[in-house]
Amino acid sequence: MCIRRLFNIPSVCLYFEVHQPIRLKRFSVFSIGSEANPYDTYFDHELNRNIFYRVAKKCYLPTNELLYELISKYNGKFKVSYSLTGTFIELCEKHFPDVISSFMKLRKTGCVDFLDETYYHSLSSLYDNLTEFERQVKMHRDMMKEKFDYTPSVFRNTEAIYDNRIAKKVKEIGYKGIITEGTEKILGWRSPNYLYKPAKSNIKVLLRNYPLSDDIGFRFSAKGWSGYPLTADKFAAWVSQSPGDIINIFIDYETFGEHQWSDTGIFGFLRHLPDELLKYSNVDFITPAEAVKRYEPVGEIDVPFAISWADMARDVSTWLGNDMQRDAFNELKSLEEPLMRKANPELLLHVWRLLQCSDHLYYQCTKGLADGDVHQYFNPYDSPYEGFINYMNIIQDLKQRAYR
């Protein structure tokens, strides 16, 4: 029995997903069959640069700076973790290399852990066999080694998509831990504030505490919410009262300055958070890599059908919930075989994989009500239908190239 558990001392794991898709150009059905370079024909470099600049200035650079300051101030007591997608790194390199240096600076503090995922932030974990998934995981691993000289020991799949099969494969590839959503669908009455193990394999599963995570990620500036305004001391009090081993606060990095604009006070909140949390003698900060070393699973979770941290449904319906999405997904999947058979497939394979980025299917989501509003906010298209038309036109063009 771990001494911390005996005294109910929760550790706080702050983890951020850092991702940007490489967005598409408007591609008409009449452009299908062209000979031009697919990378430049499909992807809107100017749009991507503009968005990346904006988010880098509003979020990545100031937040990295603030976290660096806090890490230095607390002398090893304050820790954070990231996963950086391959598409994000490519956008950094193409448009704003300073952002990579700024993450490198954080990595050198020794108080930052990085996770692996699929390089392309794809849905390849849902393919009929997991060969392509494994390739993309290794690509991410190689990228982390090359750019940051770091080998992650914990894995987080695209949008925390998880099932028994994925857990087993991730274990096989060699990871010690995997992250997913702490939803009642898999936990029932049990608490997300402990480590679990999958039904048929032996890997440690870290579960996102979604009420506390969403308090920051979604509700922070919601004036109608009973917790508004959310202050660091209020949040720290909630955390300290949460029983368990580890409180996993997993959120989009763009929460800082982009989803929650600077004038909401989100940076002030982050600045004071370590101080307020460390005021409680029972609280400390931990990274996923440390967590899987320190804690043992308290139980088993059996997840035969994929879950995720997206939307209210917490499943994969965000990307594959309607006929358009399923049709596009199947078309895309079917290109693996012809592309692999080609003589020099590198460029086409890269393009194919960039198209696998889950965001392109997310834009085609037709779910209404609360979820739909979030979708519309991030959607570069007038409607999900337009998202489908554009994406499908591009896939049809790639399909012709694959069989050419």
């Binding site: 008409s28 009449f30 006929d323 049709d327 499908m392």
Partner: protein, 378 residues
């Protein structure tokens, strides 16, 4: 339903509504609107005398909805040939309306568009009762923003100034009323049109449908030009349903573009024919240059047909289940037509969600909101 106190209050109200279209005497959305609106208002207990140039063919099954033919023939939309004695007839109709209506006692006057507005203004002064004016289209819309006729604009403006409240069929129209006619925002209430669902049925064919008057406002030329582009990629049939002054010019255009064997001009269709073509078409396009609402788009949706609508339309501002285009963007219009024809899941998703969304567009709702406007002025 928040209708508890509504009934006894609406019982007391007697409305003189002055129109000029009502099924089966109907050429456009105004007639459809008057039909749906008056029947729902009557169900709510409002008594309506509906004044028309001719009312012989109109049947009513409601005690509190009566039709009164004045005895003057006018067809303002079928032709832009406004020569002859058209204006005299309009004047005569308005005068006759005044004469007839003042014989009875009403609590409120409700006019539709410019054609009946003079009667409304005169009666308002004579009877000292409030006037509500619904704007279904302005001269700017009808002229496609080209060579607008100042005579119509002046009379529309006069009507808007004299009305106690104005109902606009969309925010799109409200904006025009504010910008071009100087109407203050507080005076305008936006009430979107509705649809009586046609329902699905029949086997879908590769038909792309245009339905509307063949006038510059409705943008049929853009439809034909998009057809040319579509036919480069996909074989299908284009149906142009409707009559109007542009017909010869459009036929010429189709011939010159070499697509006359793929474009069919049907002329004006009966209701039955219309429902059939709505049902068997695979795509409906509303390419209007300026469309205050666009009820036909809702009709197509209600028949299970996906729609592409002009961004310059009222219907595009409220509908989620549609594809939007700029009316002049032929390439994008063609892109959307081809993808709709080609990608079955796209049609399926649109049809599925349309079925849900169409339920929000009921004449009962339109009537309730109209009655709220009545309450404001009575």
């Amino acid at each position: 339903m928040r209708g508890g106190g509504r009934v006894e209050k609406s019982m007391a109200l007697k409305v003189a509504m002055i129109g000029w279209e009502y099924p089966p005497h109907k050429v456009g959305g105004l007639g459809t609107h008057c039909y749906g609106l008056t029947r729902s208002l009557a169900d709510m207990g409002v008594s309506i005398d509906f004044y028309m140039p001719h009312a012989d063919k109109i049947k009513t099954d409601k005690d509190n909805l009566t039709f009164k033919g004045i005895g003057e023939e006018i067809f303002p939309y079928d032709t832009v040939n406004l020569g002859g004695d058209f204006f005299e007839r309009v004047n005569r109709y308005n005068e006759l309306c005044v004469k007839e209506i003042q014989k009875n006692s009403y609590g409120l006057l409700h006019c539709h568009d410019w054609l009946t507005i003079n009667a409304g203004i005169m009666l308002k002064k004579k009877l000292n009762i409030p006037l509500v004016l619904t704007i279904h289209s302005t001269e700017y819309d009808r002229s496609g923003w080209l060579n607008s006729n100042q005579w119509f604009i002046d009379i529309e403006k006069k009507g808007m100034e004299n009305a106690d409240k104005i109902i606009a069929v969309s925010y799109y129209t409200r904006k025009i009323l504010m910008k071009k006619y100087g109407v203050p925002k507080e005076k305008i209430r936006v009430i979107h049109n509705a649809v009586t669902p046609i329902g699905e049925g029949g086997k879908k064919l590769k038909i792309v449908l245009f339905m509307g008057r063949l006038t510059i406002q409705k943008g049929p030329e853009f439809f034909i030009r998009a057809a040319k582009k579509v036919l480069e990629a996909e074989d299908c049939l284009f149906v142009v349903a409707g009559a109007g002054d542009m017909l010869p010019q459009l036929v010429d255009l189709a011939v010159n573009l070499g697509i006359s064997n793929r474009v069919m001009f049907t002329g004006k269709l009966t209701d039955e024919e219309l429902h059939h073509i709505y049902r068997i078409a695979q795509v409906y396009v509303l390419p209007s240059v300026s469309e205050p609402f666009g009820i036909t788009a809702l009709e197509a949706l209600s028949a299970g047909t996906p729609i592409i609508v002009s961004k310059s339309s009222g219907v595009s501002e409220i509908l989620k289940t549609c594809l939007r285009v700029d009316f002049w963007d032929i390439d994008e219009m063609a892109n959307k037509i081809v993808t709709l024809l080609r990608y079955a899941p796209l049609r399926k998703e649109l049809a599925k969600h349309a079925k849900e969304e169409i339920k929000f567009f009921t004449w009962d709702l339109c009537a309730r909101k109209t009655f709220d406007v009545y309450k404001e002025v009575v």
